[in-house]
């Protein structure tokens, strides 16, 4: 009996395994479709004519560029892209700088209150944006930054999320290496720039990508600060929507254009983006 059982057992196991992976793949494919469909819908809707826009057809009957020309005329897409780029880049760089400095200080020196500061950073991260947007708004207006990119950027110069994300990389950096550097006459700055940063480059880059995408997609805070001045792309999209009428075609066209830079960035550094999402455990 036992002899007969043996060869069948692995086969059954293999079969079960095949069904298992098959099921997993099916689920993944469904989830992929789920994620891709809105993008697909946005793209094809942007090519549909005005009469077709509420149609359920998966492809436009005729491809038209009128939505794009309309959108380009209606809003200053190039200018807005530039504004968005300035905002996203400066926020990313500033957040990275402050995060690196903070994480380095917190991990390298055991100064009085360092634990308290770390706890405060963690708590800041937990405070929802809605709770601080009004105080932030009045502060920024008081500083005279209303309706300008400066006003958007200033409160976003430091990010608790960025600090907390970099903290473990700094914490786990070998102490002996830092000591070797010190014995080699490296200054505190030297240790940071010549020793630590080159060795945690990938963490910095992946966090940077994440911060950039977050800033690029930011809508609510810019919407509060900017009324007509240096509008960002995400705000520009708003002008196609109103209580009475939403011009879906041009909105979709403008949305395609707005997501294009991020999409291109994504295609170029796809691997790092995925890694950074995996690394920081988001989405």
């Amino acid at each position: 009996m036992e002899l007969q059982m043996e060869p069948t057992a692995p086969a059954a196991k293999q079969k079960r395994l095949r069904w298992g992976t098959g099921g997993k793949h099916l689920l993944l494919i469904l989830l992929c479709l789920f994620a891709i469909f809105p993008i697909y819908w946005m793209v094809i809707s942007s090519f549909k004519g005005a009469g077709e826009i509420f149609n359920n057809s998966l492809l436009p009957s005729s491809w038209s560029l009128e939505n794009y020309t309309y959108a380009m005329e209606a809003i200053d897409i190039v200018g807005m892209t530039a504004n968005t780029l300035v905002m996203a880049l400066s926020q990313t760089i500033l957040q990275l700088c402050t995060a690196v400095m903070a994480a380095y200080a917190l991990t390298r020196w055991d100064f009085a209150g360092s634990k308290l500061i770390y706890a405060l950073f963690s708590l800041t991260w937990l405070v929802p944006f809605q709770a601080i947007m009004i105080p932030n708004y009045t502060t920024i207006v008081g500083m005279g930054f209303r309706d300008s990119l400066m006003g958007v950027i200033v409160p976003n110069m430091a990010s608790a999320f960025a600090i907390l994300s970099l903290y473990p990389s700094f914490k786990s950096f070998p102490k002996a290496l830092i000591e070797a550097g010190v014995m080699d006459k490296m200054s505190a700055c030297g240790v940071l720039f010549k020793l630590i940063l080159p060795n945690i480059k990938s963490s910095i880059v992946s966090l940077g990508i994440l911060l950039f995408i977050n800033s690029w997609n930011d809508y609510f805070w810019p919407a509060l600060i900017i009324s007509q001045g240096q509008t960002t792309l995400q705000l520009g999209l708003r002008s196609f929507m109103s209580a009475e009428l939403t011009s879906w075609g041009p909105l979709m066209a403008a949305s395609v254009l707005a997501s294009l830079p991020i999409l291109i960035l994504y295609l170029i550094i796809q691997k790092q983006v995925i890694q950074s999402f995996v690394k920081w455990g988001i989405k």
Partner: protein, 346 residues
């Protein structure tokens, strides 16, 4: 002159005292080994000398200069770390060169020094490799080269061989010892391995519980332990210790024989409980009426007799008092073992 003088160095972490006032003079050009079990404070002492740890009290003098308050980089010493601590993003050449650049050594001299040091540690063909592409032994050489190239007043080494396998370790022991001979600079070497201490050191400082137990040449430490701790720490296996009332008697396993001979005037009968064949020699675990003893002897593969007679000389027995310090010969204890040597020989 680059002797290192420690005066009453004290250190505590939180409330635990790690070093209880260390006084020590490390001779210029010596290969001094700080030896002790883990937690004895030897690494902390080394780190205090390096300046990586700050002493709570006491003075530290290197050469003729009081360096107690100086930063590590201003002490003109080099350190070799346990896990090498090579800069992972720099190749071998840059790793070795970095300290020289920081010292503002001109480029030509840097080149010269690197060339001669890589020859010394046999890394000539490895200069462009990254540390991650090298074996443990090679990384250790890079770490040594990085220290040597700076031409410091003294080398501090924190268990540099503990990450290597046994074969490589014995090879590196020889190499480090010959490096010391070649350079003639003070080496201060921390280890818990008494074989490393005995084989490489010109001086050994035995530490336990944050205090110096004994210091001296390997010969003095081995042949003349000042207290029970040293007797039991040095030697492999360590000395056998038997307790007699207020006193202890200790005999080294390699000084006990199964054959009588002239001078082996003492004897003891025992029962062999276990044998450990090491190839060239055998360890016998023998139970006697005074306690268990280990005997290191020739191997007798086929001999499995249970009862043995052990012989040793009067000089091989060391005595310690109740405070575990070395004390004079105790005739009444010797009397317990004595027998007529003549009789035994004949």
């Amino acid at each position: 002159m680059s002797r290192i003088i420690l005066q009453d160095i004290k250190k505590s972490f939180k409330k635990t005292a790690v070093l209880h006032g260390i006084d020590l003079e490390i001779q210029d050009g010596s290969f001094t080994v700080l030896l002790g079990p883990s937690g004895c404070g030897k690494s902390t002492l080394l780190r205090i000398i390096a300046g990586l740890e700050k002493q709570d009290a006491g003075r530290l003098i290197i050469g003729n200069e009081d360096v107690s308050g100086l930063e590590p980089q201003d002490r003109d010493i080099a350190m070799v770390f346990q896990n090498y601590a090579l800069y992972p993003h720099m190749n071998v050449r840059k790793n070795i060169e970095y300290g020289l650049k920081a010292k503002r050594v001109p480029k030509e001299e840097r080149q010269q020094r690197i060339d001669s040091v890589v020859k010394l540690v046999q890394l000539e063909d490895q200069l462009d490799k990254l540390p991650a592409q090298m074996s443990g032994g090679q990384r250790q050489r890079v770490a040594l080269a990085r220290a040597i190239v700076k031409r410091p007043r003294a080398f501090l080494m924190d268990e540099p061989l503990s990450n290597l396998d046994a074969k490589l370790r014995s090879q590196m022991r020889v190499e480090i010892a010959s490096l010391h001979k070649h350079l003639g600079t003070t080496f201060l070497y921390v280890t818990h391995d008494q074989v490393e201490a005995m084989s490489m050191g010109t001086h050994i400082v035995v530490l336990n519980g944050g205090s110096i137990m004994q210091q001296g040449t390997p010969r003095e430490i081995y042949t003349n332990p000042q207290n029970l701790f040293v007797a039991q720490f040095i030697g492999s296996p360590p000395a056998n210790v038997l307790k007699f009332g207020d006193h202890y008697a200790a005999i080294r396993p390699e000084e006990i024989y199964f054959q009588p001979d002239v001078g082996r005037r003492l004897t003891l009968k025992g029962e062999v409980q276990a044998r450990e064949h090491l190839g060239g020699e055998t360890l016998y675990y023998v139970m006697t009426e005074y306690g268990r003893m280990v005997v290191k002897g020739d191997h007798f593969w086929d001999d499995d007799s249970q009862t043995v007679q052990m012989y040793f000389s009067e000089q091989s027995v060391m005595f310690f008092d109740q405070q575990e310090n070395r004390t004079e010969v105790q005739p009444d204890i010797l009397a317990l073992f004595s027998h007529n040597a003549q009789e035994a020989v004949s």
